[in-house]
Symmetry: D2
Subunit: 431 residues, 4 copies
């Protein structure tokens, strides 16, 4: 199929032409430095070129809080417009070739057509996401009492049915993962029985699980709080992995970086899920307080590096298998979503690249010998490397832009879309 | 003025009649128990009868999160309907005689008329609240860049003007406090300079301060995060009190129980604000994770008691004065707001009553003598008392209901309003 | 065997005589109140009389921090003196008939003799606790690299052997539980591989497990941090339950109330462990910041009540069995440990009593009907009851003291021991 | 005065000789890259060469927790040995020319001699630290009830006197700062009155303040918790700055990076203290959970960068002056303290260097224009730079080692000291 990318290739090429000499110089200098450490920069670049992360369709729109949402002109409001924006991100970054859709938000009448439309933009589809945390206009039963864990059998049945519908849509879109996040929980002690709520969740989730094709996975996403503020039915990785165990081998756990208690060691959770065969994937974002859904690595890039350090280690020691899915999941409340996802995708790829730079032989020897300082230094020396030249070189070679934000701004994409697209009304943001 | 309360007095009286004997028995038994401790139950009841807490007009509607809001039939949508519901709360509880309005949400054309309308329902007005955290349809400048701290002079001017307008409205309503909470802050490191943002805030806030009548106070409400997730311009009590110092003697600090970092000792913050002459008032609610806006005392009633312990202590040792304003500020996402505020008002009054029961002579002696166990026991013995009979007796004597929730349900208020009032649409909740 | 309790029975009887009339009056009044709610106070008293909680031998001494320890005159320094103090606690409270020993701290040459000595004081032994978090003088291998998870095979073997030795001692003492807490973890990213550390832990723990008698349990105690400040090998309930699953049916999880991340819903963890058949027991204490080891219920008594609400619910719905062990585990840094344990044991029993008072029929009906307010009120009404008369009556009838702290102080126990026991040296604070 | 540094200059020179070519290549390449951004690498190197941070005398020894301390052979036990180790750190790093002493731990009979001894090792003295959080053998009054805030007048007087003695010692050592951290606080609600405790603290602190020479500062160090676990008298920056305001212009606030509530924005606290004229200095370390006292930047290097970003900004906009003192304050529980301080000092200097690399013109323009993404990128681009060549070049030119850890290990310093110094006993863990 011929793809028809949204931005002009000339624009990118011309911009790159102005940056190439400097990039080559920086790449060569870094190559010599890494060579002294026994690292082949081209091999790292090759691994980076093979890396990708999905973007969420809903992330293409401006996000908000319960207090307000401040829309921007040119914001997409349909799945078609969102795909276009995602194509811009991938055209510039060459690292985000898949889009994760959310239903019923992204419902269309013709999914085969939607898949073609995406393909013509150079995009495929990632995990499908169900939505049982808010009511839709035409809905028979409200989710006010929860969804998969509701005490009301009809509500549970409706939620199960919706998830199965998502699987059906996903099949047509080429997805092989269903991500299930439910907001079910309570705001008061006593509101529901904590044990029986989980019983109901597991019983309903098993019905969804039963509808999974053989090559699909069901990714359970836990979250500590919000929208429920006293208890949440799948609140932590412990609840998530026990639920996944009960459901069966196709059920795995998805880690959203912002869904944990304060101070928790997230990289250890990743290691635990891998150790017990249940690491399914990630929703990348960053946070300082709660589920802030900030840009990946904007607050704590070192933590993101440590997560990738576990992932590289897991790949080397796959135990019962290693195949996590990677997706950005952010709320872009104060930036142009395209810019935030360009920047975030680069940060994520950079953390992957840095994790590849770790001298694992030295690390393992230091660990084995209890040489704490040198074990730490093995990580720190890799973290300190400025991998921008590696990422930019891989991107340029794949057709992307060396300086993505600059090219994006030169393209006047948003300004043009502000002329074409219908404006979004005021209101509270829902992410 | 003759008041015209929304519920039938007979309904209340008949229900009370069925409960009076039991109440009198419990009250007498508790009275004997307290008498053995040297406490006069009638004196406590008298203090409780003199206690009150304001309710927020916006709290009368169902709240929600950025994910969803689930409206209930019969929910109020205008200030007139909200006043009616607040009148029900006060008629049953006799402890919430004032309503705190929020502008522009509660704007009307005739404020003198609104004041009369409230008075006829047995209500007055408490602090007026300005709103510069979301855009209104007809607004010249967006608050997307912040309000009092925005880099844009016109935006700051608009925010100042709105606050002054609130003061003007408040004068007509009989208020004497302006509560200022701004959502201003950033989502990214570097987004704004942390020092200069505060400079701008202080300069603009000083213009609001200058418009305060002599007998008014400006209550600064701090909040750690949300809607801003990296930094907030007035994020903690330290920022709040330093701002209040710069503004002048009429500026005080307002403590919302859910606006603090995890684990923080809130009762000590109360003591500090009192120590330095800046304790202005409270927004009561409870929380487990962030600004959850749960029902007061539903999660940690002991903390609420400890706050009131400081308040009773402060009243005994007023230093530079003691006159805090008390208000409920909650988001009722899963309950009937009237029931939540009835229950919350009772919990708040209960904590006040328990704090009055502390044997302060014993407490102070134990503190002075470093008898830690007995100092703790002095508080704990008061906390353990079931003060329900005292509250119920005070309520009944003032015309309220002994069993408020039961009478409210018997009244079928919500069901009747569901017939009369226009329904609320779906959407994300804004609290 | 004749027991020889440390305090004079006359002292207790005389003190009780002065309090009995008031107690009977309060008990009768509460009985009438509960009767109106359909609750038989004597039945509750009977359940309370059957309740008990173990005390830790080490808790009888003054605790401290890395900064300092402030000893008190008369503090016990040997297991014999500690048993004596524990006997005082049980004689007064009649709710702490078992002591949990810690090895090698409590090592003696004759365990049969120690068991007799305890029995003569009215005490038995609870779970034995191993110690592999600090080095002992005569130790072959340091635990500086960890214990069960150390990279050094000899160190792991030594830790396994010590745990097996604890089981052997426990058999002689009549214990049937081994509590295993290890401080193993890291202070630096990279210090150890997070996956392989757990592999080593599990392999070593399996050797301990293999040595368990058939009727014993191995209680795994997780802790988020301290003494390790970056990662801990068994850091949370998720790690704990997965380890317990791998080890086998005799491995269960022990919940220490202070070992969790901030804001975590501990009662839900209890419900989860019960739901998945792995709830083993508790270390009761309270905390505001970290593992503060404060007196049970002193900071958040409502949370302790909610934990007991889960336990009462679990007993009614035992699923795969319900048999948790209860123990106090506190650090008494600023109080007389006997007084703290008297007060704590009463608080724990009070939370149990309150949980028994919950109208479960009403609660379950409200939950099933999504009547959130009434579900909450079902808990809250029970929580608000002052159960002191029930506890005191049960205690008096069992021979304990109505006013435990008062009788303890009258006994001059500590002052007498200060004459008899050798003083403790200054604790060296470690900063 | 001729200095007599502990390590052989030849060892350093020879090691550097092997690394110089590579360093020069990296430095040149980075220079060209920065030059393209309009930054003069030599100017940055010059600023780095002028930067320094003090080390704590107590940090030269192995740290521990209340559970255990694991000493290492060759650990220093006297101030003389500690000075030697600090001299090694400075000889290799050339960035730590001052030592901060702690009394009574570092008491000697001849302070003029101690100052000479330090000078001969190339060292001076930084802030003096008083210790009123643990009892000393010969002490008249115990600090069990607190120190400056104790209810006991004699205890307060003793604490005041000790602080004044520290000033006297400091004068002889050439210090001009007194750092005051008190552990005073409570473990139980009610243990002390929260207001009157602060009154006593302020009254006593004013007596210390009165003894300050004109050119001295009194640095108040706040801490949220530990050793007190319910309340702490100077628990947060708000308490600290209000206390400093009351004491007078020579009183400033000291920020220890590990002494805050979870999630708090520390860089904003720095900005606030600067804004209000009270930023006195820092205790650098890192933490994940509480006051973990981990190596600076080992957990969250980005946060440390953001702190230095505020400091560079503050230097450019000094308002009422900018003169903070910088000190490392860490507990080296699992590493050789010399190695940890070498690594930490480099990390701190690196964060300073990165903050200097921020394009402030671009940053300020983006802030002014509300171009959030570009403001963020201005910081992020600087943070991503690997500044190791700048630091190493500055170090080498000053006589330090390019690869500090490697040279230190080659020197066999610790092994030699293990032969010479008397061993440290096992630390008694306090649980």
């Amino acid at each position: 199929m011929t793809t028809n990318l949204p931005l002009s290739d000339e624009l990118i090429a011309e911009a790159n032409a102005r940056e190439t000499a400097a990039l080559e110089e920086d790449y060569a200098a870094l190559g010599r430095q890494l060579d002294r450490r026994g690292i082949d920069i081209d091999a790292i670049k090759g691994r980076v070129a093979g890396f990708s992360v999905a973007v969420p369709s809903w992330g293409a729109g401006r996000g908000g809080t319960r207090f307000a949402k401040f829309p921007i002109p040119g914001e997409p409001t349909t799945i078609h417009e969102k795909l276009e924006d995602c194509a811009v991100i991938n055209q510039l970054s060459r690292v985000t070739p898949r889009v994760s859709p959310h239903f019923p938000w992204d419902k269309v009448s013709d999914y085969a057509g939607l898949r073609q439309e995406a393909a013509s933009l150079g995009l495929g589809f990632d995990a499908v996401n169900s939505n049982t945390f808010q009511d839709q206009k035409d809905q028979a039963h409200s989710y006010v009492t929860g969804s998969l864990s509701s005490t009301i059998a009809e509500t549970r049945a409706q939620a199960v049915e919706h998830n199965i519908e998502c699987i059906e849509i996903g099949k047509q879109l080429g997805s092989t993962d269903l991500t299930v996040w439910v907001g079910d929980g309570t705001n008061f002690p006593g509101q529901q029985d904590l044990g029986r709520s989980l019983d109901r969740y597991l019983e309903a989730a098993a019905q969804v699980y039963a509808a999974l094709p053989d090559d699909w996975r069901m990714l359970l996403e836990h979250k500590m709080f919000e929208p429920a503020f006293y208890s949440t039915v799948i609140s932590d990785w412990g609840s998530s992995i026990l639920a996944a165990q009960e459901l069966g081998p196709k059920a795995k756990c998805l880690v959203d970086l912002g869904h944990h208690a304060p101070n928790v060691n997230i990289e250890q959770i990743v290691a635990r899920l891998h150790r017990f065969g249940k690491l399914g994937g990630f929703h990348f974002n960053d946070s300082k307080y709660g589920d802030d859904d900030l840009d990946s690595g904007s607050i704590n890039p070192h933590q993101l590096f440590l997560v990738f350090n576990e992932l590289v280690e897991a790949e080397l020691h796959p135990r019962d298998g290693f195949n996590p899915s990677y997706m950005i999941d952010q709320s872009h409340n104060v930036t142009d979503p395209i810019e935030s996802m360009l920047s975030s995708a680069e940060t994520i790829a950079a953390c992957f690249a840095k994790a590849l730079l770790v001298d694992r032989e030295a690390l393992h020897a230091a660990q084995e010998g209890n040489d704490t300082m040198m074990a730490f230094q093995a990580l720190r020396r890799a973290y300190n490397v400025d991998v921008a030249p590696i990422l930019a070189m891989a991107r340029m070679e794949a057709g992307g832009a060396i300086d993505m934000l600059s090219v994006y701004r030169q393209s006047k994409w948003r300004e043009r879309k502000a002329q074409e697209r219908k404006p979004v009304g005021l209101g509270a943001g829902i992410v």
